[in-house]
Structures are given as C-alpha cells and as structure tokens.
C-alpha cells in the first residue's frame, strides 16, 4: 500500500488540461479494465481539490459517465458537482446519462444520480430531477428514499411554488411514517429546512406525529436524533399534560453519548417547561438536567466551551440546575483560557452565602496565575462576589488587600477598580482601608484604575487629611491624561472644594482645574461639565454640594441578570450561535440570520410566568400562503382548526421593569432565583453604575462593561 500511496501524492502535481484530454481520449481504446481512465480521473480530481480550474475538460469527462464502474462514476459526479452549475450550455448532454442512472439497478447509483442533480441548480436539471424524484421518494430502497428526502429541500429552494404543486411537501409528510428511521429523520430535516425559509410552508407538528417521531428516535443515527428533537420545537402544547408527556420521553435522551444530542434534548426540555404547571415535574427535570451538563465537561475543550456558555444561560433561568455543583467549575491550570474564563463566570453566578468561602479561595488561587487576562478577571470576580454576597464582603476585602500587598501592577489596579464599587455597595463600612489604597497611588497607570482611585479620593476627601495634597499631585499631569481621568479629576476637585471650602489650597486647586477644563480642553463633554460646575459653584455653592455629593443609589448586582423574557427566547436557541454570544435572535438577526427566529407561542398551556415576559416576534416576510401540514394518518380534530399562525402579539404585556411585579405575583419558579441573589432591590431608584454601558440594545443588561458578551474580535467574550 505504501508504494501506491507514494504515487498518489504525485497526482497533486499541476496537470495540464491538454495532457489530460489526450489521456482521456487514449483511454477510450484498449482500456478493458478502465485502469487508464481511473488514473486520469483521479489526477483531474486531485487538481480540482487544489483549486486548479478543470472545467475545460467538461465534455471529455462527461463521456466517462457511461463507464459501468462505481468508482469512475463517483469521480465524474464529483467533477459535475464542481463545474456543473458553471456550464448551463453544456449540461444538457449529461441529462440522458442522469436519467439512465436514476433507473440503475444499483440503489447507490440511483441515489448518487439524484443527489448530484440536486447540487446543480440549473432549470433543465431541476426539471429532470423533479420528474425522477417522485419515483425515488417511493423507491423500495431506504438509501434512495432518504437521499430523495433531502433532495426535495433543494428542489424546493429552486422553486418553492412548483415543488408544492408537485406535491413534494405531502410526500415528505408521508415519509414521516416510513418504517426506516433514517428516512424519517431525513424527511424531518428536509421539512425543517423548508419550514425555516421565509417563503416556505409552515412545518408544525401535532401530538400524534411528535410521538411517532420520538418512537423513531431509538433507531436513528445521532444526526437524525438531533433533527427529530429539534423539530419538537415546532410542537406547541395546548395542554399542560401534553408538555408533561413529551418531556418524559425526551428526558431519556439525556443519556445519549453524543454531546449535541444531549444539548438539543436540554433545549427541548427547557422549551417544554414553559408549558408545564406541575412544580414537582419541573423540579425533577431540572435535577435530571444537571448531571448530563456536567458530563459534557469531561469532553474535549471545544465541547466544554459550548457547554459552559450554555450552562451560563440555563442557570440564570433555572437556578436549581447545578445549584450545588460549583466545584465542578473550578479551573484547572491547564484548561485553555476560553474554558477558564467561561468557568469563572459560572462560578460567580453559582456563588451564594453557603459556598462563597470556597469560591473566594479559588479566586485567590487564580489571582496568582500567569495569564494576565485571567488574573484580572479573577480579581474583578472577587469584587463582584463582595457586592453580590454580603456576608462574604469582609473576606473579599481582606483578600483584595492581600492582593494589593503583592504590588503586582495589574493586580493592584484591578483591585482598586473593584474596591471603589464595594465602597458604594456598603457605604460607611470599609472606608478605613483608604490610606492603604493611597500608598499605591503611584503604581496606577491605567485610566480606569486611576479614575477609580481619584473618585475615592474625591468622594472621601472629608475623611482624609491629605486629600488636597494627593489631588494636587494627581492634577499635575492633568492636560496629558485621558478624558476618563480628566473627568474624574474635575469632579474630585470640585468635591474637595465643597468639603473644604475654607482651605485656600482646595480653592486654588479647583480654580486651576476649572480654568484648564474651560480654556484648554477641546473635548466638549469635559468643557461643558467644567462650565457647569463653575457656574454652580459661583451661583450657589450650597446647592452645588447637594448636587455633587448627592446620595448615590447603592450598587446591586441585579443587572447582571438577563431580562427574563429575552432569556426564555435565548434558551429556545440553546446551543446555537446566539447562545454562545448571548445575543437574542432579534438583536442578532442582522448578524446571524435566524431563518425563523423562535418565540414561545401563547397557548392555554403557557406557564403564566413565561407569558408575563413573553417577547413577541414579528416575522417580517409572511409566507405568501400559509399551508398547514396536518400529520399523516387520521387527522386530529384539534389540528384542523385554524391555528394561530404566529404569536404576533402587538406588544409584550409587561416590559422588563415590571419584571419584579410580575414575579412577585405568580413567581412560582423564581423563588430560588431570589435566594441566589440576596442583594435585595433597594427602593425603586435602583441604578446601576454600569448599566449605562448597555445602550446598544443587546441583551445582557449591564454588569461590567465587557459583561455584555459580543462576538469577539480581540476582546474576550466574558465579563
């Protein structure tokens, strides 16, 4: 074998069209066993794979299609797949060959012929295929039937209305009852593809068909199982019991070895849970979902990554899942960085009073690692932990101070940024550490850290004897600083002046800064603020004090949570790109084309909680004709009545601010969510200092600036 292997590699040498043509012609005679033809074709195929244009050989290669040898036929078909569509003027010479092969005795050749034809979107070919497909869909061989099912989707793409007229959709529907599971799943795949088209017929399932499909699942390949499971999203439960029954049957698929099957099954379960009422059953399902998710974490890193991103969504919607399993997400030193970052975020989400200590100990561990990016995020997570879990705040502060002692520049800066927020979250509790922070003033060289420190100095200038000296030093480089720092300096010096209006030094300082801001700065934002402060101070310093030092709303981590309705919608896309990048279908439809952005359909069975946050979906292009496909077999009466084609409701009943009210009313499955974030909502003036970062209409409501994961460029996805 090895000797021949060596020869094969030589086929990759750039060949000349003329040469090949001559060789093909020579092969027409004295080539009883077709060895010559085989060799030339192999060379040609090798050239196609290298991207060399072999299309001039079209007529010569097509001649070989008559060779009664499967291997040669396959290579010619490969050639046709590559160049068929670019030769509309010559394609007619192949058609008779195609038709011949469509009726070959060998089912492999029959299937190969229709498959190849479906790859060539030229009207004459499609027409010929349409004719043949009708027979092939009823072929006695399952291999041909399953190939034909997929071909229907292609014919449909070429001309939807014609394919409908030819009755292909109904024929596919009949295949849903085929005795062969692979045929069934391919029919589902084809119907799904058709149903996802904006101009396609509607693909909906009734309970009978859904049950039949689930019965076929046992014998399907993993891909077939995925198609079948995914199609269950097209079944809309009208009664709670329907959702219950289906969920019980899907539950068993969580034991599949293929990670994609498991994640698809979880997606369906999450979907069906919206239509359930039985709390016990919902809890049971949540409990069952945890372990398979953890099992995914023992797969390769790429699977882990996708699983982690999805777990992050799932635990926000169903906090009981994996509630006690934070340890599973501890990072290993050798984990790839993207896995570490995703785990870190989940650890933070799962942190609560009971495990805060363990989580903090891990975060401290990570803060000593090598990867700068990861270390920063670990430090930031400590701060978020302090803000989220009040009883852990003392320990977090201590840990952060320890880190500051290490004097590693980026650790110190990151720590100061989060400590500023902790001050705001727990006013009057930790200000005693300010002197320690001030010792590290000189180490700060990043704008965000510097601005945070300046904010601290300004805000607590009344408690620091040397605040004026510190600010005076900081202001020294005012004109060279980035805007972020300049803004902080401006506000801080105004605060200092208000606190210590008697001090000559403070007066001189604020004057100097205001003068710079209004006379030398080009940035309109900064300049306007300078004017505003100046006038405020000039007209009425007392009022200025009230404004500048107004009581700030406490920081909470509430905005870390995604909006529930959007979360529900994202979870319908569990496992898809949207869920990886945490973008809701509508916001990302410009980015990732969602053929049919999914939304929960409102039926009597819809859980009141899910209904309260329902995000309606507007389908921009309505299909010209809504054809409801009833299932094969006896028509169910329930299915015959005109179903609400789309949950196109005018407006969401409750906008997101009312989330709390809605939850308070019937918040049956959200109590646990409460427990998870003990930070109570304080009054209605809950403002989040970070929420301003979230103005782009994307999903993640606030959190740290990069907590709004977006498709990444160089940045990381998390935080």
């Amino acid at each position: 074998m090895s000797s021949q292997a060596g020869q094969d590699a030589k086929f990759f040498q750039r060949g000349k069209i003329q040469e090949f043509r001559a060789e093909l012609q020579a092969a027409e005679v004295k080539d009883k066993k077709f060895i010559k033809r085989r060799t030339v074709l192999k060379k040609i195929v090798a050239n196609i794979t290298m991207g060399n244009d072999m299309s001039p050989l079209f007529p010569d290669v097509v001649q070989c299609l008559g060779t009664p040898l499967l291997e040669i036929k396959k290579m010619v078909y490969l050639f046709l797949v590559s160049y068929g569509k670019s030769k509309p003027d010559q394609i007619h010479i192949v058609i008779p060959r195609f038709l011949e092969d469509c009726n070959d005795r060998n089912p492999l050749i029959r299937a190969l012929a229709i498959r190849t034809m479906s790859y060539i979107p030229i009207p004459v070919v499609t027409e010929a295929l349409t004719e043949q497909l009708r027979h092939c869909l009823k072929d006695r061989d399952p291999y041909v039937r399953k190939t034909a099912a997929i071909c229907v989707a292609k014919v449909y793409t070429a001309d939807p209305r014609k394919a409908e007229k030819a009755g292909f959709v109904e024929m596919l529907r009949d295949l849903l009852l085929d005795p062969n599971a692979t045929v069934v799943s391919n029919a589902v795949a084809a119907l799904t593809e058709i149903g996802d088209r904006p101009d396609g017929v509607f693909f909906k399932l009734n309970l009978t068909i859904a049950n039949k499909l689930l019965a076929a699942i046992g014998e399907s390949s993993e891909w077939g199982q995925i198609y079948i499971l995914d199609s269950l999203l097209r079944f809309v439960p009208e009664k709670h019991s329907e959702a219950d029954v289906l969920a019980e049957r899907v539950l068993i698929q969580l034991q599949h070895a293929n990670s994609a099957v498991v994640l698809t099954a979880i997606k369906i379960l999450l979907y069906l849970m919206n239509y359930m009422e039985n709390r016990r059953l919902i809890e049971h399902i949540c409990k069952k979902m945890g372990p398979p998710l953890v099992t995914l974490l023992s797969s390769g890193p790429e699977v882990q990554y996708v699983a982690l991103r999805n777990i992050l969504l799932i635990i926000q919607r169903r906090p009981t899942v994996l509630r006690n399993d934070v340890k599973v997400f501890f990072c290993k030193y050798n984990d790839p960085i993207y896995v570490k970052l995703a785990k870190l975020e989940i650890m933070y989400r799962l942190a609560r009073e009971e495990n805060a200590k363990e989580v903090l100990a891990e975060l401290q561990e990570y803060a000593s690692e090598v990867d700068v990016d990861f270390v920063r995020k670990a430090v930031r997570s400590m701060g978020r932990l302090a803000i989220k879990v009040e009883p852990a705040a003392d320990l977090c502060i201590k840990a952060l101070l320890d880190l500051i002692e290490t004097k590693v520049s980026y650790v110190v800066q990151e720590a100061i940024i989060v400590i500023k927020d902790i001050f705001r979250r727990y006013p009057g509790k930790y200000e005693g550490i300010i002197p320690t922070l001030c010792e590290h003033l000189d180490a700060l060289d990043e704008p965000e850290a510097k601005a945070a420190m300046i904010w601290i100095v300004g805000q607590y200038a009344d408690r620091m004897d040397n605040a004026d000296e510190l600010l005076d030093d900081l202001v020294y480089t005012f004109l060279e600083e980035p805007v972020e720092v300049q803004l902080a300096l401006l506000t801080a010096s105004v605060k200092l002046f208000i606190y210590k209006s008697k001090s000559e030094k403070a007066k001189e300082l604020v004057h100097r800064v205001l003068k710079w801001t209004t006379e030398e700065i080009d940035n309109p934002d900064l300049r306007d603020r300078g004017f505003m402060y100046w006038r405020l101070l000039a007209i009425n310093p007392g009022v200025a004090g009230e404004i500048v030092l107004a009581e700030k709303p406490a920081i909470t981590t509430d905005s870390d949570r995604m909006d529930r309705g959007a979360l529900d919608q994202l979870l319908l896309h569990t496992g898809t790109l949207g869920s990886i990048y945490h973008k809701n279908p509508e916001a990302s439809s410009r980015e990732f084309p969602y053929p049919a952005a999914r939304a929960l359909a409102d039926t009597p069975a819809l859980n009141p909680n899910s209904r309260a946050v329902l995000v309606p979906i507007t389908r921009t292009q309505l299909p010209p004709a809504v054809i409801n496909i009833p299932g094969p077999g006896p028509n169910e009466p329930g299915n015959q009545k005109p179903e609400p084609p789309l949950p196109a409701k005018p407006a969401p009943p409750l906008p997101t601010e009312d989330e709390d009210a809605a939850e308070g009313g019937g918040g049956e499955d959200d109590e646990s969510e409460r427990v998870l974030s003990p930070v109570a909502v304080q009054g209605d003036a809950v403002a989040d200092p970070y929420s301003g970062l979230d103005q782009l209409g994307t999903l993640s409501a606030g959190g740290y600036s990069a907590d709004n994961p977006r498709p990444k460029e160089d940045d990381d996805l998390l935080f």
Partner: protein
C-alpha cells in the same frame, strides 16, 4: 440546522481537502481559513484559540462562525452560519476524525494526501452539500466507500476493477439496524469490554482534594456473527450515575432494571460512559461529597525567589498491591526559566522543554507503597519568575477501576453460537496539585 462545509488544514494552515461549498461564494471558505490562521497568531498556545471563532462577513455578507478541532498536525474547520448549534458542527468534526482514523489508521497531512480520493468519497458520503450529515456509522460507510487497504488488496489480487463494484455491497443499508451491517460472519465469535475510568481532581495547598470526579467508559470490540442481541448485567450497577450510551442501547430497558440490552455494531465502539461517585446514592444532586481517594500522596515544596527556584517533591504510592504506570509530573517554570538541575530517585528521568518551559519528571513504574523524590533547582533570567502554582500528575493503573464495576453476565439471544468474552479494567489519573 446545517453546517456549511468542512475544510481540513495542514500544519502550516493550508487547506488540503475541503467540501465544495456549493451555496456560498468562493471566498467563503477562504475567509474562514484566514480567520483561523489569524486567531492562531494571537495566542501563545495553539490550544488557546477560541473553538468557535466569530468571522465577519465579506462586504454585505452575514457574519458566520468557524468551529474547529485539531487532530495531530491537522486542523478541521467547520464554517457555520445561521441558527446552528456549534456542538452539532463540533460533534460532526469529531465523528469525521473517527471515520478517518478507522479508514487511514494514522491521520496526518501525508496520509490524507496519499488517500485523497478515499477522503473525498468519505466527505461526499458523510456530508451532503446542504450541510446535512449523511452516513457516519462506520459499519454502513464500509458498504459504500471501500477502505483503502481493502481496495488495494482487491486490485492486487484480482487485478480487476469490476470487482470493486461488487465489493461495495450492491445492497447497502439492507440492514434494518443503521449501525450494524447485515449478514456479518466471523470465524471466531468474540467480544471484549475495556472498562477505562479516569479520575480528575484538583488538590489544594493543604493536601485536601477540592474537586474530583471519576468518569468511566466501556470500550467494546465486538466480533460477533449475524444479529446478536446481547443483555449485559452488572453486579453493582447502582454505582454508576449519569450514564450515556451508544445509540444501540435500549434506554427504556436501562431505566427499568439497569441492564444493557443492545444489538452491537461491528468492531470498536464505546458502549457506555458514566460517572462514578461514591456519594451518588445519598446525595444525588451534590457531586463529589465523598470523594474518591487519590492513589498517591504528593508532598511538594517549592521555593521561588528573585533569580529562580528550588523544588523538592516526594511521591508515595498509596496502593498496596498494584504498581502505578506511566507516571509523569509537570510544572510550568515561567518566562525566562533555564539551567535546570535536578535529581531523581532510581527508575525515573526528567527533562525540561525550553520551548514550552515545562519541567517534566517521568517514571515508567512506581511499585506499590514505594516512595520517590525529585529535587533540584533552576535559574530564571527574568526577575521574579511567575511559574505555575500547580503540578500536574498523570498516571495509569492496570487491572484496576475505582468503581470496581463488575460484569455479572452477558447473555446472547438471536444466534446459536457461544461467544468468547473478555473484560479488562484500567484507571487513568489526572490530578492537579497546588503548592
């Protein structure tokens, strides 16, 4: 729910084989290849490249994502756009790698080039141009794409090409069971089960394990004739939690009485994967409450100072009867590390890779209850070297499983012969020790 195609890159990031990308512009596969190669230049370790890369569209095109998996010196890319589960693409790549391994034995850029026609046929059969996976079960594939070795054998023996047409079964998919060929014949009917369990754990500074879990799988090699219907029972199946199975296993039967009832595929396959946790019966929701003891003790003492560091590690086997095999210990020493000087106790060896900066200590066997040491120092050219705060140890134990899973019996129905059965156990351990 369809992927856009598959591209296989060689070690230098150049495409070797790719699908035809019918419905996309010719530039589409190219931007994905570029996206991957660009991402590669931005990370320090190739394995740190994000597995689902965001790829911006060309001009007005919609952006897409590039899922990729490495395999030896190769990298398989799967561009996806639209509402697709990236796991779907990743699972497909994994499956395709398995198929390549089955067909080519060793998968590398050169074997791929040597057998490009087979690889092409495989791509054609496994992935439809619309991106739907077709036939991926090795049993069924062998009917329609002849493995290179068999093809060559036929050519050399018969010298005739006609025979290859008949070699590809004229009646593929005749079997009602998608994963098993019909009418198989083996001279000796045998089936082997390899139970492999892997313990993964993190041990904290205080020597207490912070998290640990044992995942196991049953690798099966089946050479049985006809259509055997097997029933496998364990004596202690209660120990197994979170099981996942090969599609051939009848799941309802398992839920009922924890018996594995199945018609096996032919050849190698993974029958079952599970997790073992001793606590599973009492606290099903909390993982790892009672942890599996780690079979070794490791006493690390590491000092890192301004100019380098010293290491002194003692490893003691806690096993009293069995030997530990293929023991290795690794530590990343940090930027600027060099001039390592270490001593190992008898039977061991050490090495330092100046490129990856990883120090490695290996021992082929660690006898039962024995103790070994590894000590020495290194010098760093960078002041205050930042070395890893964790050792990574890996080893194997033959004839041992943590769960002590025992097969009770294997009953066969549907066929008359009596198969030869074999069961073997093996444990792998991968522990991170922090210091």
């Amino acid at each position: 729910m369809a992927i856009d195609g598959l591209i296989i890159l060689d070690g230098a990031g150049r495409p070797i084989v790719q699908t035809s990308f019918q419905s996309t512009s010719p530039a589409y596969p190219l931007i994905h290849i570029d996206a991957y190669n660009n991402a590669l230049t931005k990370v320090s370790r190739p394995e740190d490249v994000d597995p689902v890369l965001y790829v911006a569209g060309i001009s007005n095109d919609k952006p897409s994502a590039c899922c990729h998996v490495g395999c030896g010196d190769l990298r398989l890319l799967c561009p996806v756009s639209g509402d697709v589960d990236p796991l779907f693409a990743l699972a497909f790549i994994r499956t395709f790698i398995d198929i390549l391994q089955e067909y080519l034995g060793h998968v590398s850029a050169s074997t791929l080039r040597d057998n490009f026609d087979v690889v092409y046929q495989l791509l054609e059969e496994t992935l439809d141009s619309g991106g739907h996976p077709l036939t991926t079960s090795p049993n069924a594939l062998r009917d329609i794409v002849i493995p290179p070795s068999l093809l060559n054998k036929l050519l050399s023996v018969a010298g005739a090409n006609i025979s290859s047409l008949s070699a590809a079964s004229s009646n593929p998919f005749a079997s009602p069971i998608p994963w098993r060929k019909a009418n198989l014949r083996h001279n000796s009917n045998e089936i082997y089960f390899d139970v492999v369990e892997e313990l993964r754990a993190i041990v904290g500074r205080n020597g207490v394990s912070l998290s640990s879990d044992v995942s196991g799988k049953i690798n099966t090699n089946c050479k049985l004739s006809g259509t055997p219907d097997l029933l496998l029972t364990f004596t202690n199946s209660k120990l197994l939690t979170d099981c996942s199975f090969h599609p051939c296993v009848r799941l309802p039967r398992w839920s009922k009485d924890k018996c594995l009832s199945f018609v096996p595929p032919d050849g190698h396959f993974i029958l079952q994967e599970y997790r073992y946790s001793p606590s599973s019966t009492s606290h099903p929701s909390a993982l790892g409450v009672n942890q599996v003891p780690i079979p070794i003790m490791l006493k690390p003492s590491v000092m890192v100072n301004e100019t380098g560091g010293t290491i002194d590690v003692t490893v003691t086997s806690r096993l009293t009867t069995r030997a530990i095999e293929d023991f290795s210990l690794e530590l990343y020493l940090g930027q600027g590390a060099g001039a390592p000087n270490f001593m190992v106790s008898a039977g061991g060896s050490w090495a330092f890779d100046p490129r990856s900066l990883i120090l490695r200590w290996e021992m082929a066997t660690v006898p039962a209850s024995s103790s070994h040491t590894f000590r020495g120092s290194w010098i760093s050219s960078v002041p205050h070297p930042r070395s890893a705060h964790a050792f990574r140890t890996k080893f194997a134990i033959q004839g041992h499983t943590f769960s002590a899973l025992k097969i009770d019996q294997l009953r066969l129905s549907g066929e008359t012969y009596k198969p030869y059965k074999g069961v073997r156990g093996r444990s792998l351990v991968d522990v991170e020790w922090r210091w």
